[in-house]
Symmetry: D5
Amino acid sequence: MVKTDTSGLTQLGGAAALPASPEEAVLERVPHTHEGERYVARFTAPEFTSLCPMTGQPDFGHLMIDYIPNKWLVESKSLKLFLGSFRNHGAFHEDCSVYIGKRLTEFLDPVWLRIGAYWYPRGGIPIDVFWASGPEPKDVWIPDQGVPPYRGRG
Amino acid sequence: MVKTDTSGLTQLGGAAALPASPEEAVLERVPHTHEGERYVARFTAPEFTSLCPMTGQPDFGHLMIDYIPNKWLVESKSLKLFLGSFRNHGAFHEDCSVYIGKRLTEFLDPVWLRIGAYWYPRGGIPIDVFWASGPEPKDVWIPDQGVPPYRGRG
Amino acid sequence: MVKTDTSGLTQLGGAAALPASPEEAVLERVPHTHEGERYVARFTAPEFTSLCPMTGQPDFGHLMIDYIPNKWLVESKSLKLFLGSFRNHGAFHEDCSVYIGKRLTEFLDPVWLRIGAYWYPRGGIPIDVFWASGPEPKDVWIPDQGVPPYRGRG
Amino acid sequence: MVKTDTSGLTQLGGAAALPASPEEAVLERVPHTHEGERYVARFTAPEFTSLCPMTGQPDFGHLMIDYIPNKWLVESKSLKLFLGSFRNHGAFHEDCSVYIGKRLTEFLDPVWLRIGAYWYPRGGIPIDVFWASGPEPKDVWIPDQGVPPYRGRG
Amino acid sequence: MVKTDTSGLTQLGGAAALPASPEEAVLERVPHTHEGERYVARFTAPEFTSLCPMTGQPDFGHLMIDYIPNKWLVESKSLKLFLGSFRNHGAFHEDCSVYIGKRLTEFLDPVWLRIGAYWYPRGGIPIDVFWASGPEPKDVWIPDQGVPPYRGRG
Amino acid sequence: MVKTDTSGLTQLGGAAALPASPEEAVLERVPHTHEGERYVARFTAPEFTSLCPMTGQPDFGHLMIDYIPNKWLVESKSLKLFLGSFRNHGAFHEDCSVYIGKRLTEFLDPVWLRIGAYWYPRGGIPIDVFWASGPEPKDVWIPDQGVPPYRGRG
Amino acid sequence: MVKTDTSGLTQLGGAAALPASPEEAVLERVPHTHEGERYVARFTAPEFTSLCPMTGQPDFGHLMIDYIPNKWLVESKSLKLFLGSFRNHGAFHEDCSVYIGKRLTEFLDPVWLRIGAYWYPRGGIPIDVFWASGPEPKDVWIPDQGVPPYRGRG
Amino acid sequence: MVKTDTSGLTQLGGAAALPASPEEAVLERVPHTHEGERYVARFTAPEFTSLCPMTGQPDFGHLMIDYIPNKWLVESKSLKLFLGSFRNHGAFHEDCSVYIGKRLTEFLDPVWLRIGAYWYPRGGIPIDVFWASGPEPKDVWIPDQGVPPYRGRG
Amino acid sequence: MVKTDTSGLTQLGGAAALPASPEEAVLERVPHTHEGERYVARFTAPEFTSLCPMTGQPDFGHLMIDYIPNKWLVESKSLKLFLGSFRNHGAFHEDCSVYIGKRLTEFLDPVWLRIGAYWYPRGGIPIDVFWASGPEPKDVWIPDQGVPPYRGRG
Amino acid sequence: MVKTDTSGLTQLGGAAALPASPEEAVLERVPHTHEGERYVARFTAPEFTSLCPMTGQPDFGHLMIDYIPNKWLVESKSLKLFLGSFRNHGAFHEDCSVYIGKRLTEFLDPVWLRIGAYWYPRGGIPIDVFWASGPEPKDVWIPDQGVPPYRGRG
Ligand SMILES: [Ca+2]
Ligand SMILES: [Ca+2]
Ligand SMILES: [Ca+2]
Ligand SMILES: [Ca+2]
Ligand SMILES: [Ca+2]
Ligand SMILES: [Ca+2]
Ligand SMILES: [Ca+2]
Ligand SMILES: [Ca+2]
Ligand SMILES: [Ca+2]
Ligand SMILES: [Ca+2]
Ligand SMILES: [Ca+2]
Ligand SMILES: [Ca+2]
Ligand SMILES: [Ca+2]
Ligand SMILES: [Ca+2]
Ligand SMILES: [Ca+2]
Ligand SMILES: [Ca+2]
C-alpha cells in the first residue's frame, strides 16, 4: 500500500474548535494515491444540525455524501469540522444541502459528487434534497443510499 | 357459535355521516355472548385525526385500544364514527387520549380498558399517551402493543 | 424416542375434503407420549378465512394457537381441516376467535390453551382477539407471539 | 449561501386557517436561487386525508412528491395548507393523486415532478398511484421512494 | 377535479354476492378522466385464495397488480369480486396468475399491465409468478413491488 | 373534555430563543386536568445535542422521557427549549442524562418519571443511560421504549 | 383457464423417496399452456442441504430460481425431489449452484433461467453464487431477489 | 482466566463423520470452570434437518437451546454432531424437540435447560415447540429468544 | 450539574497502545457523582475480537454490558482498551464472557452488572452468553438488550 | 458435476497461522471448472479488522467482494487468511479497501471484480468505499449488495 501524504494538514491531531460558520470552516485534502481509479467514497453523517433562518430554532438532518475522487481525497476531520460549522448558523434546507454539495465539489474537483440530505420533519412534512454535480457516471459502481422513507407513527 | 344480538343498533348498514363532535357521537354496543370469558379485544386505528386547539392545524395519531369485555362489546362501526368525530374538533393530545379511554370505559363498563395514543411529531418531539382504566389484570393475556419508537430520519 | 400412536386417526393419508362448516369438522387427537412434561406447542395459521355474517364478504385472519398438552396432542391435519371449515361459513371476529379457542380446549383438555387472532382490516380499524383458557401458568415457558401491530401505509 | 427572497409570501408567519377546498387553496413559491442546478427536492406527507366522494367517510393517504425545480421552489407552508385543503373535500383516489401532481406542475413549472400516493386500504385492497409529469430525466439523481408494500396482518 | 362517470356500474352500492367462478365474475370499468396521462395504478390484494385443482385444498396468495390506464379505469369493487370468485375454484398457480393478468388486460385494454403473484408455500418451496402484458414502458414511472423473499423460519 | 389552563405560560406563541444553558432554561407547566388518573406521557426527542466537556466537540443523543403526571403536565414548548439549551453546553453523557431526569422530576413532582438516553457512538462503544425517579409503579401501564440496540455496520 | 396436461408425470401423487444423488434424480415437466407469454416463475427453496466434499459435514443453502418458460414448465414435485437429492451428496458451493442452474436449463430449455444460491456461513465468510443462462432479457419483468446481506451478529 | 480441561474429549480436532442416528451420537462435556456462577449459554442452530416419519421427506427446523450450566459444559462439536445425527432419521416435530431437550438435560445435568424449536411450515401451518426442564429460575437472566412469527407471504 | 473528578486518570487524552493481554490492561474509574441513584449505564461494543485458543484463528463478538453504578463509574477509554486487549489473546467463548463480567464487577463494585456476549457463528451454531453478577434488582429499570437471534441466510 | 482440482493448494486442511501482514499473505486459487460461464461469486466478510495508521487503534469493517471468475476461483481459506492478515497492520480506510480489490484482481485475473467496504464509524461519520475493476458488465447478473445505511441511534 502506498503512503498517504498528510504533510499539508493543519487540523489533524490537536483539538480543533468548531468553526463559527461554514464560511470560516477550512476544508483540507490529501493527494489521492489511487488517481485514475474510478470508485466511490461515501460519508454518512447522521449528526448534522443547523438553525432555521426564520425562527432560529435547531434543525436536524441525516446527510450522505458520495464522491468519485480525482486528484484529492477530503481529509475526514476537516469534513467533520465543516459540517459542524453549521451548528449555530441559519440555513434553509434546500439551500444548505446544495451549498454543501457545491462547496465540496469546488474544493475537491472530483470526477463526480452527490449529496443526499434527509431532514427531520417540520410541520409533519420532511424534505429531502438529492443534489449531484452532474449526471451519474455510467462506468462507476454507485450504490443507492437506501435511507427508508419517513414514516410518521405506527 | 351463538348469535350476536344486533337488534338495538341504529348506525349499522346505512350510510352514516361523521358526527360533528365527540359529544355528538353515539357509541353503540351489543350484548356480549361470551360473558364471563376474560379475553382481550384490540382495535388499531392508524387513521385518527383531530385539530390543534391552539392553532387549528390538523393533528394525526395512531391509536390502539385494548379491552376486556364485561356485558357489552363495542359495535365497531359506532367506534369508527366516534373516532371520526374528532376530525374537525380541537383537542390537546394528552386530554384527547384520556378522554377517549374514559368515554369508552364509561360506556362499555369493561373489566379493563386501555388506550395507547401515538401522536405524529410536532416540533420534533412526538408525545405518546398510555392510559388504562386500572392496573393490568394479572390473570388475562394482554400482549404488548409493539409500536416501534419514533425515529426521525436516517 | 417413543412412538406416537396414530391408530385412531381417520383423516390422515388420504385426500380429505374441506368440512362444510366448523360444526361438521372432526378434530382428531393422538395420545401424548410425553404426558407430564409441561411445554408449549404453537401452531401459526396465516391462511385463515371465513365469511362476514352481515355481508357475506370474505374475511381473513392470521391465527396463532399455543397450548400445553395434557393427555392428547391435536392431530395437525385435522386441525388444518377444522380451520379450513370456516371458509364458507359466516362468523363475527370476536365470536369466531373465542369459538376456536373453546372448541380446541374442550376437545384436547389441555393444561392451558390460548389463541391470538389477528384479523385483516375492515373499515380501516382491524381487530385482534387474545383469548386464553385461563391465567398463564407461571411455571411454563410461553414466548410472546410477536406479531407486529397493524400499520396502514407509509 | 445566497438569500432566498420571501418578499412575495402571504401565508408565512401568521396563523393560517385550512382552506375550505383545494380550489380555494393558494399555493405560493419563492424564486429558485440555484436555477440551473438539476437536483430533486422530496416532500413526504404521511398526514394526508380527504373524504370518499361516494360515502363521505374519511380516506387517508401517505403522499410523496419529488420535483426538479426550474425557476421556482414551492413554499412549504403553502404546500401544507394545500394538502390540508382536501380534509373536508370528496375525491376519488386516482383523481385526487393526479390532480395534486398536475396542480403543482402547473404552478411550479418544474423540470419534472412526480407524486406517489399510497392510500390506506379500503375493502382489503389498497390502491397506490404513481404519476409523473413526464419521463424520468436520465441526467438527474432520483432515488426510489422505497415505501414497503401493503402487507395486511401477520 | 373532473367528475368520474359511474353511471354504467351495476355492482356498486348494494351488497353483491361472490361470483361462483372467475368466468361468472363481471368486471366493470369507468371512463378514464385523465386519458393521455401515463401513470400507474397499483392494487395490492393480500387476501387472495383459491383451491388446488389436484387436492381441493385451499391455496393462498398475495397479489399485486400494476397498470397504466388507457380509456378505462377498473372499478375497484368489481375487481374485488373478480378476485373473490376464485375462492371455491380450482386453479394451478402459474395458470391462475397469468389468467388474471390476461383477463384484466383484455377487459381494460390498458397501455400496460402486470401482475406479481406471491403464493404461500406448499412443500416448502413457494412459487412467485411475474407476468406483464408486454415490455415495461420506458417513459413511465413503475416502482418495484418490493415484496420480501420467502424466508422460512428463524 | 375539560379545558387546559394555559394562563401562566410565558413562552408559548411568540418566537423564543434557545436558552444559553440548561440552568437558564425556564421549564413551564400547566395544571393537570386529569389529576388522579395514573397514566404515562412519553416524549421522544431524537434531536438532542450537547458538547463534549473534554473536547468541545458535538455529541448527539436520542432521548425518551416517560412520566406519570401528578398535579402538573410539562408544557411541551418549554421542554423543547430546555432540551435545546444543551446545544452549546458541555456535559458528560451519564451526568447529562441523570440531570435531565432529576430536573424534570423536581419541577413536575410527578408520580414517577424515567429517561432513556441513547447516545451516538464515540470510540465505537456507545453508552445508554436508563434513569428512573424510583421503582416502576406496578399498577400503571408502562410500555418498553423499544429502541433497537446499536449495531455498527453490516 | 386451459387445462395443464399432467399425463406424462410419474412422481406426482404417490410417495416418492429422495433420489440418492442428483444424477439419479428425475426431473419432470409439463407442456406450457401459455407458450409465447414471456413471464417469470420464481421458486424459493430455503430448505436446501448438501455435504461438504472435503469434510463430509452438512452444508445449507437458501436457493432462488427464476425462469422464463418456453415450451415446458418444471413439475414442482420433481424439482423438490431433485433439490432433495443433494442431501447426502458432496458438492462445492460454486459448482453445486452452477450445476443446478445448468441442469434445469438443459432440461427445460427455457427462454432464460437464473439461480441465486445464498450459502450459510463457513469460517465466518459465506459465499453467494449468482448464475444465469445468459444476459437478462430486456423485455421481461424480472424483480430483484431481495435477499438481505449476511450480517453476523448484533 | 482458568483453563478448560479438554482431556476427556474424543471428537475434537479430527474429522468426525455424522452419527447414523441420535442414539448413536456421542455427546461430550467438559468440566465447568465457573461452577456456581448462574448464567445462560445459548446455542442457535438454524441448520437442523430430519426426516418425516410418515413420508420420509426432509423436515427443517431452526433450534435454540438455552441452559444454565452446573458441573458441565457441553462440548460444542459433539453438540453439532448430535444435531447432525437426525439428518437421515425419522422424527415427529413435537417428539424430536422434546427428545433433544431431555437428552441434553440428562447428559449435562444443568441447573436448567430449554429448547425452542421453530419448524419450517408443512401444510401452511408451522409448529413451534417450547420445552424447558422446569420453571424458569427467577434469579438468572434469561433473554427471550426473539424469533419472529411465521408470516407466509406479502 | 456536578463536576466529574478525572484527576486520577492516566490513560485519557494521550494516545494509548492496546494492552498485550487482558491481565495487563488497566481499568480506570471515576468517582460517581450521583451515588445513591439507582440507574443503568449500558455499553454496546460491536467491535470485539479475540483468538480461538484451539486454532489461533480470530473470533468476533458483539458485547453489551449493563451496570448499576455504586461508588464508581468506569472510565470509558480504559474500558475500550480493556476490551481491545483480547485482540491477540486466546479465550474460549464462555470463559471470556464470564471473565469480562467478573473483572468489571470486581473493579467497579457495582450494585449489579451483567454482560451479554453474542458471538459470531463457528460451525454454523453461534453461542451467546448471558452472565449477571446476581439476580436482577426489582427496583431498577433494566431494558432488554434486544439483539435479534442469529438467522443464517435467507 | 466436475471435480475441482485442489492439488496445488498448500494451506487447506492443516491449521494455518494468520500471516503477519497483507504482503506476507499467500493467496491461492483453483482452476475454474466452469470457464466461460459468466456468473458472480460473492463473499461477505463481516469480521474484518485492521489498525488505524495514525493512532494504532483497531478499526473494523464489513466487506463484500463480488467477482466474475475467468480461469481461476479464489480458494476461500486463503482469502480468509489474507483478510486476517490486516489484523495487526495499519491501513487507511480508502487505501485498504482499494488495495484488497486490486490485489485480488491481479491474482485472479477475473472478468470483473468489485469490493464494497463498510467501515464502522469513527468520529460519528463512517466511510464506505465502493471500488470495481472496471464498468459493470451489462450481460451478467450482479445483485445489489443491500447493506442498509448507517443509522446512529434511535
Ligand atoms: Ca441507482
Ligand atoms: Ca401511519
Ligand atoms: Ca405485558
Ligand atoms: Ca438519525
Ligand atoms: Ca409472556
Ligand atoms: Ca426506477
Ligand atoms: Ca432458518
Ligand atoms: Ca416493562
Ligand atoms: Ca456487525
Ligand atoms: Ca428491475
Ligand atoms: Ca423472559
Ligand atoms: Ca399475509
Ligand atoms: Ca427484563
Ligand atoms: Ca433460512
Ligand atoms: Ca444492479
Ligand atoms: Ca436518531
